[in-house]
Every structure is written in structure tokens, then in C-alpha cells.
């Protein structure tokens, strides 16, 4: 599966992302299971709204965290997330 800057990822069917105060982390919930996300995974996934492209998400992250050159990291993570069915792309 190839992910480009134009891909528009969206949280997968049957998955839900939410902030869990008790774990101080974003978690991804699915039937009878849960993944606790590390900070960067959480920040990327919560932007996978089905409206923002990988380029938009990258720009948003770079601005929020005052960083540069995140594009490849985002692409890599979205590819992994696709394999896990955490996200779908349109």
C-alpha cells in the first residue's frame, strides 16, 4: 500500500480514538481490544479525520510542534496504520 502526500486517511471502521485521562494517552479502541498510542502516533491519528490529506496533517503537526521535516515520519506511520486497519484511505 502506498501512501502519498495526497492520501486522505480516516480512522478505520470499528475503530475509535479517544484521550484517556487515566492512561494519560490517546488510545485506539476496537472490538474487545485497545491499543495505547505513544505521543506521535496519537497526534497523527487524531488528525486522520477523512478530510485532511497527509500533506495537511504534516503541515499541522509541524506548526503545532514547531518542527520541520516530519513528512516521511507521517507517511511511514500512516502506512503502518493502514496495514493494521487503524485507518482507511480514500
Amino acid at each position: 500500500m502506498t501512501v502519498t502526500t495526497a492520501s486522505v486517511p480516516k480512522i478505520g471502521r470499528h475503530f475509535r480514538i479517544q484521550w484517556e485521562e487515566a492512561q494519560k494517552a490517546y488510545v485506539l479502541l476496537y472490538p474487545e481490544g485497545m491499543v495505547k498510542l505513544n505521543q506521535s502516533a496519537g497526534e497523527i491519528l487524531k488528525r486522520c479525520s477523512g478530510e485532511a490529506s497527509v500533506a495537511d496533517i504534516t503541515a499541522d503537526l509541524e506548526q503545532t510542534f514547531n518542527a520541520q521535516g516530519l513528512q516521511q515520519d507521517v507517511i511511514n506511520f500512516v502506512e503502518l496504520a493502514l496495514q493494521q486497519k487503524w485507518v482507511e484511505t480514500t
Binding site: R13, H14, R16, Q18, E20, E21, A22, Q23, V27, L29, Y30, P31, E32, G33, M34
Partner: protein, 385 residues
């Protein structure tokens, strides 16, 4: 780093995590009579079910502690008329809500109401794939009904997750079971061998499959996987009687699982009620925070400090936490013993003996009549397991 922050870090590492998983067993009532039912054998003595308001309180308090996955099971949870209300409250609180049902009682009206309430997921259990076998195992005519339930579940956009309990009497039908799963477009299928608790322990010698049966079933499952690829995710769970190391039961006692029984007992696992000498708190008398962090029932077998030999000096003790306390009690007569499934347990020979017996077709233990789960049988047996 200052000494103070080091001390804080050490303290945090040793603190008990939240009960991430809440299992709400909302009723022991059930229209089916499964011979392997995991409910306590004396369930009929515990009829005093929590009210809607009492369940709301449980849901709220557990959520506040950090519970996030919520399973509604039973018995048959559909028998609670307020199930939709409970699901709606759980959803409002931010839980991911799962319903574990036999499908009996699921109709258009109720599934729409559940969906509306925010139900996230349904797991449908099947006793077997042929009508005759299904009726034999549950002793009610439910098979067509389950098929209809499967269609309803799919039509409302839920993933089709099917669970089938496997044992000596249905394991040879594994192809038919897989075919059925495929017919209903199941996405996840769990073929779980019976675990010997509750009614399954009563019927254990009749239900334990032979090695040959197991190997055949596993081989067919593997072949199916190769042929059909990823379309359907298949899990095959062997009975732990055939293992040499126990499972990490409940992922550790009081570690992430919290079960509330229909009458409001808080348990670290849904079968723990049978253990002697432990008072498990009632949510009618104690808040969930105190239950989880302070009650004797939850602290007794937490971590590894309670262990005896051979577990206490075992290099694998963090891996399985000594296995299942209920199995230790049922077979070694001591809930703090090593799970006898472990071949280091001095009681392992009892497991081996049961397995050996399962290899001899038609021996008297195997052909004893099965005891069906039911309120009358429960009162007659009048024992915890």
C-alpha cells in the same frame, strides 16, 4: 534528577494500574442450557440482580477509575429489559461497548435500539453449525434464530464476530463450523476449546477431546487459513489441559479485568466466586475504587508475592503469574498452588490422567450423561463447581 523525583518514579512503577476492562454480567438467566456454561454451578442461588440505577453507579465509578472497554454478558444479557439503557449510559460515559450474546432475543426492534444507544460491537456465540448438534448442545431450537441474528448484526453495519465453543462432541464438525462462518461472512472467528470451569468442569470428562481430534481440527483450521487468506481471521484455542505451561490467567489477578456479577459481587475473573476463604466485596456496599485498590479479594493474588513453591522461585513467574487460581483450587485443592496445568506442579499428574482418559474411546467417564445447565440442576447440585 533529584532524589525526590526518583522516589516518585519508583512509586509510580509499583502502583496498580486501572481496571481497563469491565465485564458486566448483567444476569445469570439464560434461555439456553449449555453443557459447558462458564457461569457458577450454583448460579440459581444468586438471583438478586442489580437494578438499573445500581448498574449506572458501577459504570460511572469504574469509568472514573479508567475502565474503557465494557462488555455486557450473562447469562443472556438480552433478557435484561433495560439493556439498552445500560448501553446508552456506558456509551455516554465514553466506554467502548461490547455485547456478548447467544442471539436469542435479538430482533429488528432491539438491535435498532441498541445501535441507537451507541452499542459498538456484538459478539455472537454459536454452539455448533448443524441444527441437530446445536439443539443437542443447547437443548433448545436456536440454530435458525442464530442465523437470523447474524443477518441482523451484519445489516446494521457491525463486524461479524463469531465465537464457537469447541469440545469432544462438536470438534469433528469443524469443517461445517468454518463453512457456516464463511456463509455468514464472519470477519473474526474464535474456535475456543472449552475451559474447564463451572458447568464445563461438571461435564469435563465428557467434553475433553482426544489428541487425535484436536490435531485434526487444528490441521483443518490451518488449511482453511491458507486457502482463504485474510478474509476471515481465525483463532483456534487449544484446551490448556494439553499444555505444559498455564495461561496467564486474566492477564494477572486484579491487573486489568474487573467483573461484576448479576448480584453485584466484584470479582477479578468471572469464575473466582468459587474460591474459598475470600470475601469478594459487593458493589452494593463498597465503591469500585475501594474494591479495586483496597479489598482483600483483589489484593490476595496480585503480583507474585503470594506465591508458594514451585512458583515463588520460578524464572517464569512474571510470564504466567502461576496460572489460574480457580484451576489450582479445583485440582490441587489450594488456590495459592501452581496451576496444575504446569508440569512443575506436584498435581500435574491429575491433568495427565484426565487427558489420558480422553484418549480411550467410550470409557465410562466419557459416556456419563451430560448435565445441562439449568436452574433446577443448579439447585440440585448446590455446589460452587
Amino acid at each position: 534528577m533529584t532524589d525526590l523525583s526518583e522516589a516518585q518514579a519508583a512509586q509510580e512503577a509499583s502502583t496498580i494500574g486501572p481496571p481497563l476492562w469491565l465485564l458486566a454480567e448483567v444476569t445469570y438467566r439464560c434461555p439456553l442450557h449449555c453443557v459447558y456454561c462458564y457461569n457458577p454451578v450454583d448460579f440459581a442461588k444468586h438471583e438478586d440482580e442489580l437494578t438499573t440505577e445500581e448498574w449506572f453507579k458501577v459504570l460511572r465509578e469504574a469509568r472514573a477509575l479508567g475502565s474503557v472497554q465494557c462488555g455486557f454478558s450473562g447469562g443472556e444479557p438480552m433478557l435484561r429489559d433495560d439493556l439498552e439503557l445500560l448501553v446508552a449510559e456506558a456509551h455516554r460515559l465514553g466506554y467502548y461497548t461490547n455485547l456478548l450474546t447467544s442471539g436469542v432475543g435479538l430482533n429488528e426492534k432491539r438491535i435498532d435500539a441498541l445501535k441507537e444507544a451507541g452499542l459498538d460491537h456484538i459478539q455472537l456465540s454459536f454452539q455448533d453449525s448443524t441444527r441437530e448438534m446445536n439443539d443437542f448442545l443447547s437443548s433448545t431450537r436456536t440454530f435458525d434464530l442464530k442465523r437470523r441474528a447474524a443477518d441482523l448484526i451484519k445489516s446494521r453495519g457491525y463486524p461479524m464476530v463469531m465465537n464457537c465453543t469447541i469440545h469432544r462432541h462438536n470438534i469433528d464438525h469443524i469443517e461445517a463450523i468454518l463453512q457456516l462462518a464463511d456463509d455468514i461472512d464472519a470477519e473474526y472467528v474464535e474456535l475456543a476449546n472449552t475451559q474447564y470451569y463451572g458447568w464445563a468442569q461438571v461435564n469435563r470428562d465428557q467434553l475433553l477431546p482426544s489428541r487425535e481430534q484436536l490435531e485434526r481440527a487444528e490441521r483443518i483450521t490451518n488449511e482453511w487459513r491458507e486457502k482463504h487468506g485474510n478474509k476471515m481471521k481465525l483463532f483456534f484455542v487449544v484446551p490448556d489441559y494439553y499444555e505444559k505451561r498455564p495461561k496467564k490467567c486474566m492477564n494477572g489477578w486484579g491487573n486489568i479485568f474487573l467483573t461484576i456479577t448479576p448480584d453485584g459481587r466484584a470479582l477479578p475473573c468471572h469464575t473466582a466466586r468459587m474460591l474459598p476463604g475470600l470475601e469478594f466485596p459487593s458493589v452494593r456496599e463498597m465503591g469500585i475504587r475501594e474494591v479495586w485498590y483496597e479489598s482483600e479479594g483483589f489484593n490476595r493474588y496480585r503480583g507474585t508475592g503470594w506465591m508458594k513453591e514451585p512458583c515463588s522461585s520460578c524464572p517464569e513467574k512474571e510470564k504466567d503469574y502461576g496460572g489460574c487460581r480457580c484451576q489450582a483450587y479445583m485440582i490441587a485443592n489450594d488456590p495459592a498452588a501452581a496451576d496444575p496445568v504446569c508440569d512443575k506442579s506436584p498435581f500435574h499428574h491429575k491433568i495427565v490422567a484426565a487427558v489420558e482418559q480422553a484418549q480411550i474411546p467410550g470409557n465410562p467417564q466419557q459416556v456419563k450423561p451430560l448435565i445441562y445447565r439449568g436452574p433446577k440442576e443448579s439447585l440440585q447440585l448446590d455446589r460452587p463447581f
